[in-house]
């Protein structure tokens, strides 16, 4: 039996969890906390324009119980382990990731890499704000969005400086034009 069928890695939720935890971020780290893997996989689904994982809109925006349940199963199977609040792959998990990488399409892996490196580079506040702005429908039950929105100028500026968004998106999120946005950066140096 292959490692993929042995652990039920034909399930999109399990496969994506293993894959996202196998990718290195900008700091060469693979570990992710719960918020990070949830948002990275939601961002990946946005980029893929696919809905393989079920997400609901809760206090912190789009969250998937399917992912949460499956990360627990992967932990029980010994493919994933926890280090503090972060999840990492075990040696067996790394082997599974190598098999999954061979089977997955290159563009999908590129999108997942983008999602992982972006998400792991942001603070929790920046990440929540980024996802709420990217996917406005995830704000419906949010307890955080209104608070974050009052800090939008600072958050947008930080997202721009970290390369999470370009100037056009930054300006659109602040309802100003691109030149005004770039001038505001000069003024806040």
């Amino acid at each position: 039996m292959s490692i993929l069928s042995e652990y039920g890695l034909d399930s999109p939720a399990r496969a994506l969890l293993i894959l996202v935890l196998s990718i290195k971020d900008k700091q060469d780290q693979k570990a992710m906390n719960r918020l990070q893997f949830q948002k990275a996989i939601r961002l990946f689904e946005y980029l893929q324009q696919e809905k393989e994982i079920h997400f609901s809109n809760f206090k912190y925006g789009g969250v998937s119980y399917e992912l949460q349940e499956n990360v627990g199963t992967l932990e029980e199977c010994g493919l994933v382990t926890k280090a503090g609040t972060k999840y990492v792959l075990t040696e067996e998990g790394e082997k599974a990731a190598q098999e999954l990488l061979r089977k997955h399409d290159k563009e999908a892996i590129r999108k997942l890499t983008f999602a992982k490196t972006l998400v792991n580079d942001l603070t929790d506040k920046e990440l929540l704000f980024y996802m709420y702005m990217l996917l406005p429908e995830t704000r419906v039950n949010s307890t955080e969005f209104d608070k974050l929105y009052t800090e939008r100028e600072t958050l947008v500026r930080r997202l721009f400086m970290k390369g999470a968004i370009n100037a056009a998106t930054a300006a659109a999120w602040l309802n100003i034009n691109e030149k005004e946005f770039l001038d505001s950066l000069r003024a806040s140096d």
Partner: protein, 157 residues
């Protein structure tokens, strides 16, 4: 070397560092290109004449690389997507992009990338700028209120 420029890099070289004439000489030995979209973006807000811009940069027709669209929220209107598309389709081109987002996408697609400072260093290496010019550029960037000044200065060290 063939370079394809994004708008912000042109702003740094021409408007902040005032290297129009040196860039003109540099373009005699190097090929400087812009996509049509960047030409429009730059000329809309610039003070240099279209004819001078045309002598510095050749406008190139770009086939949009569809795989880039998701990262730009399916909006092909910004200049960067055209710059990166061209470099993806022509491996002998180097993107000149200063904004961090565009650089992130270049790294993701494994395309050659440098910033305005990379071009300045290349101009110095090829003898189109003197050591005194570099000192003067550093002074200009230090005094500039341009948002990228600090990072550009770090790269010039």
């Amino acid at each position: 070397m063939k370079y394809i420029f994004d708008t912000s890099a042109i702003i740094v070289l021409i408007e902040i560092c005032d290297l129009k004439s040196q860039l003109m000489t540099f373009s005699s030995k190097n090929e400087l290109y812009v996509p049509q979209r960047v030409r429009e973006e730059y000329l809309r807000g610039s003070c240099i004449a279209e004819a001078i811009f045309g002598r510095l940069f050749k406008v190139v027709n770009v086939d949009l690389k569809e795989e880039l669209l998701p990262y730009f929220h399916y909006d092909p209107t910004c200049g960067e997507i055209w710059v990166i598309s061209h470099a993806c389709n022509h491996q002998d081109f180097c993107c000149v992009i200063d904004e961090e987002f565009g650089r992130r996408i270049c790294r993701l697609f494994n395309v050659n990338i440098m910033g305005a400072i990379g071009v300045i260093k290349e101009m110095r290496r090829q003898g189109f700028l003197s050591e005194n010019d570099i000192v003067s550029i550093k002074r200009t960037l230090t005094n500039s209120r341009f948002y990228l000044s600090k990072r550009l200065l770090d790269e010039l060290e």
